[in-house]
């Protein structure tokens, strides 16, 4: 959004999108659990052109001491984009955008983690975007969900996220880069798939009320597809662990 669309870009034609997908089709997704040795839990996600690593540390003692909560653990997610993850070099370090994303992801994860089991501790989640191609916060949160489960942290559910949006007046699932830049709206949604409880909902651009409802339903449908992939990735790693020989 925000960017002016060049004349020669056709985002939607003959029920097909710019990259050939149907309106309700996801990009190809690959999820791998337990890729880092030193982290307590980790995951790697390739979602279309996105490449994202998530690492979980803890629960460990929250330091400095004044940030400790005597009733529950604090969840500290840190979203960071690598300097080489976008076309123009991104200036390293936290900026306004990544601080916001870190905050909303932390709060989304906190809803599913059983934080009351670890008073005074902190659970740190590092989300590193190696390659960005629209929808990194969704892919990052999805990776964080797998990494948390891999770290053995007790959770009500494995959080999962997926975006929906609108291009050329048509509601679509999982926007790619061109659709994100020149489209009318982008709406990332994170849910707990067991209950469909919404953990994160943001929107950029404009949708009518009917379009919003449609986009939300579509995003939740997408979340459930990704959720199955997350579970498969976790089972794959631990079935392999059991079959060493």
């Amino acid at each position: 959004m925000g960017m002016k669309k060049p004349e020669d870009v056709i985002l939607f034609k003959n029920n097909k999108r710019i990259d050939g997908r149907k309106p309700d089709e996801l990009r190809p997704i690959k999820i791998e659990a337990g890729v880092l040795y030193r982290a307590d839990g980790s995951a790697y996600v390739e979602w279309g052109g996105n490449k994202i690593l998530a690492a979980v540390y803890g629960p460990r003692e929250a330091l400095p001491k004044h940030i400790q909560d005597p009733r529950k653990a604090i969840v500290n997610a840190r979203y960071n984009m690598a300097a080489f993850s976008v076309e123009d070099r991104k200036r390293p370090g936290p900026d306004r955008r990544s601080i916001e994303i870190s905050k909303v992801i932390s709060e989304a994860l906190e809803r599913v983690i059983l934080t009351e089991q670890f008073p005074r501790a902190s659970i740190d989640v590092n989300i590193e975007v190696l390659d960005a191609d629209a929808g990194t916060r969704c892919a990052g949160l999805t990776a964080a969900g797998v990494a948390l489960a891999d770290a053995g942290i007790p959770m009500r559910d494995i959080p999962v996220a997926c975006a929906a949006g609108k291009v050329e007046g048509k509601v679509i699932l999982d926007l790619c880069k061109e659709e994100d830049n020149y489209g009318d709206a982008d709406m990332p949604v994170a849910i707990a798939p067991l209950t469909d409880e919404i953990l994160l909902l943001q929107m950029d651009g404009h949708l009518t009320y009917e379009e919003f409802e449609k986009a939300l339903d579509l995003a939740i449908k997408g979340c459930h597809i990704v959720s199955e992939l997350q579970k498969k990735a976790l089972l794959k790693k631990y079935e392999r662990v059991l079959e060493v020989e």
Binding site: P70, A149, M155, L235
Partner: protein, 221 residues
Amino acid sequence: MEEQPKIAIPSMVVGDAKRFRPGRGTFEKGGKIYSTRLGLINKQANFINIVPLSGVYDPIPGDTIIGIIEDISQTNWLVNINAPYPAVLHVNEVPWHVELGETSKYLKYADAILAKILLVDETKKIILTMKERGLHKLNGGQIIEIQPIKVPRVIGKKGTMISMIKKYTGCRIIVGQNGRIWIDGNTDGVEKATRAIRKIEAEAHTKGLTIRIEKLLKNRR
């Protein structure tokens, strides 16, 4: 031979609440039992428990652990026990008579101790004791760390695994429930014991592990 246990992941349905009751690592909702963490499904009596496959050490009263002194004050020591929280060892809970302010005479910074967890309260404040038979300061030797959830495999059923390692390497070995293992002996023995323990850690939860470890220990005597 019992069948291979099934893996559970968070939010997976692991049983029916009509037949079973939710145990450790599970919760009940709408007549079904769900897992809260990644682990193996274990049915005991009419409880369904999840035996974790990963995660940090969760201190339980009565556990024998190997701690490292982290801080010293007038009346107590702060001990790192490889858990998310430091543990407190008070002068009243050590086998020596300690005068006020003489704590550092008995246990210094970075000393290792074999202690027992006396108490864990709801805010996870942990109190240790050394006032029991066999609990002492660990002199010499070396300490290796493994994942705390793999400790039962290193000990084996009724201690078979650990006594086998002791027998073949001639080392003195103490296994703490918190994943720290103290080994003392000659250099070759320590090296061999370390290798065996690392192998157990890597291949925990697989069949025929005891036989493979015995083979490894018999080799290159």
